[in-house]
Amino acid sequence: MPIDYIPILAFLIFALMFAVGTIAMSSIVGTKKTTPEKMMPYECGVDPIGSARRRFPVKFFIIAVLFIIFDIEAVFLYPWAVIFKDLKVFGFIEMGIFILILFVGLIYAWKKGALEWE
């Protein structure tokens, strides 16, 4: 059995060697001329304004989390919708419960003021 995994092992070693090797090669072979522009973070070619390690409002984070929840709800809804006819009433009830639970979460978040920007 373990013999079957030899290719994987070989692959791992090769990948490791490749990563280490290229980095090592470039640092050994490449010339280093540092200018302020070169040390700047790359932001799609636009000059950055101030430090990237800045605080930003936690509201963004809450919205993002809420988005993920409903995003995933949608992910579940697609396959469900495709085979809705096969699942019959059972599928409908199951999905109803699922959405209900998420709805409770939404009410909770709403009541807590997670959706209020100011």
Binding site: M1, P2, D86, K88, F90, I101, I107, Y108, K112
Partner: protein
């Protein structure tokens, strides 16, 4: 396409469903309640626990698989269900006043306790590695949040973050182990695995053994076995005390339920392979927990190490894994629930806002100022140390007795020597309470009715099991009949 709709057997999920619904209701009720008036939320959660307990009782003695063999509602699972439900109930009773004093009385707390309990219960009844993993995650995520519940306090945040990071780390190992087992046996069903192993001719499959080892790591983390225990003191110390009480008992009980089910039943054919390892881990866990506890000055930290040591004692029962061994694990868990919750309850009563009165020094002279509280503490600590006539003594007696009966004499000797070491640090608190002069002014304690009820339940449990152990031992013995 033909879809097999799984048979729906709502009744066998009764306790879990009741508790989930209760948790959602608590969440809803609490957002509509005005601030600082969250009492209905906790009454509702207590009600939910009572109904879940009642529902568990009705399922007793009728083991059956449900939901395509994803869960197996047997007495073993139900016993642990009841233990975690009692734990949750006592923890809630202990929290009510504590949270008010800390100014953090939010309904979410109770909802999270209930969600965590649901997760624990799924771990106890899960008969598929996937169910167990889902239960474990449900429990863990709730506990991560609970540990950081006092969000204005640095230590609480630190505790939550450490637990989250390391918890995620260990979950990964557990999942990895599940994957290996699946790869080796082609199933995640516990019964399927055991059937596969009993028919397999070649048990030294490295994948299988690696999977077993990784499962051991995953469970070992949750029960705080050495060397996966490092998080315990920090997390227990930083978390709100009532949460520490809850997790030190509930998480451990649930993790042991799954641990025993997976190792002593599903992977029983591999027992020759893992028993020595378990032996070593048990010895390490007991010894390290006890020795480290001696040097502690903070009482919560001391009890954290003590809980590590207790995990070691229970692992002795797993090494024995005979019928007596398993039933003594169940018995010990019940005893441990009462005595450990009780000890933390006393700490909560004595603790003042802002982590005051948590050093063992602070207990000096408590025996004269608050005789009732000191007496309770002494009873719980005696029980933890395993001194008769308390539950802890009987529990240790049965566990070590089982080990001796299975021929693990040295393990039992090491265990007994460890409990001797433990007497030192448990009794030190008693000595400080009764023989030292107070080091500072006592600020006054408050006996809230809910806390009094919780402590009375705990002390009655501790003494009753210690004095009249046989009905509870019978219960534990009944619980392991018809497992799997």
């Amino acid at each position: 396409m033909d879809l097999a709709i799984p048979s729906i057997d709502i009744a066998s999920l009764g306790p879990e469903l009741i508790l989930s619904i209760a948790a959602i209701l608590v969440l809803m009720v609490s957002v509509f309640l005005p601030k600082e008036r969250k009492d209905p939320a906790c009454y509702l959660s207590l009600l939910g626990i009572l109904f879940a307990l009642a529902s568990s009782v009705t399922l007793w003695g009728k083991p059956k698989y449900a939901f395509n063999n994803m869960i197996y509602v047997d007495n073993f699972g139900l016993f642990f269900n009841m233990v975690v439900l009692i734990t949750a109930g006592i923890a809630i009773l202990m929290s009510i006043n504590y949270l008010k004093e800390e100014g953090m009385s939010h309904g979410e707390f109770f909802a999270l306790i209930l969600f965590a309990t649901v997760g624990m219960m799924f771990m106890a009844i899960g008969s598929n590695l996937i169910t167990i993993f889902l239960g474990l995650e449900t429990m863990s995520i709730s506990i991560y949040v609970l540990a950081g519940f006092l969000r204005e306090r640095d230590r609480s945040n630190e505790s939550a973050l450490k637990y989250l990071l390391l918890g995620a780390f260990s979950s990964a190992f557990l999942l990895y182990g599940i994957a290996f087992i699946y790869g080796a046996t082609g199933t995640t069903d516990l019964k399927g695995i055991s059937v596969f192993l009993s028919e397999a001719t070649y048990l030294n499959d490295p994948m299988l053994l690696a999977g077993t080892g990784l499962l051991l790591v995953g469970f070992g983390f949750k029960i705080a076995a050495v060397p996966f225990h490092m998080w315990t003191p920090d997390v227990y110390e930083g978390a709100p005390t009532s949460v520490t009480a809850f997790m030190s008992v509930g998480v451990k009980a649930a993790a042991f339920a799954a641990f025993v089910r997976v190792f002593s039943y599903s992977l029983w054919n591999l027992q020759p392979d893992w028993v020595l390892l378990m032996w070593i881990l048990a010895v390490l866990t007991m010894t390290l927990g006890n020795i480290a506890a001696i040097a502690q000055t903070n009482i919560k930290r001391m009890l954290a190490y003590s809980s590590i040591a207790h995990a070691g004692y229970i692992m002795v029962g797993m090494v024995a894994s005979s019928e007596l061994g398993i039933s003594s694990i169940l018995f010990y868990m019940l005893a441990y629930a009462f005595m450990n919750l009780g000890a933390f309850g006393v700490i909560i009563v004595f603790e003042r806002k802002g982590e005051k009165n948590l050093d063992i020094e602070d207990y000096s002279g408590m025996g004269f100022k608050y005789p009732a509280l000191a007496l309770l503490m002494s009873i719980f600590l005696f029980s933890l140390a395993g001194i008769p006539p308390t539950a802890g003594f009987v529990g240790k007696f049965y566990i070590f007795g089982a080990a001796v009966k299975e021929g693990y004499i040295w393990l039992a000797i090491i265990g007994v020597m460890n409990s001797l070491v433990s007497v030192y640090y448990y009794l030190r608190v008693t000595v400080v309470m009764y023989m030292n002069e107070p080091v500072k002014e006592f600020t006054g304690i408050t006996w809230s009715p809910s806390m009094v009820i919780a402590l009375i339940i705990a002390v009655i449990g501790t003494l009753l099991i210690g004095i009249l152990p046989s009905p509870y031992l019978d219960l534990a013995k009944q619980s392991i009949l018809l497992m799997m």
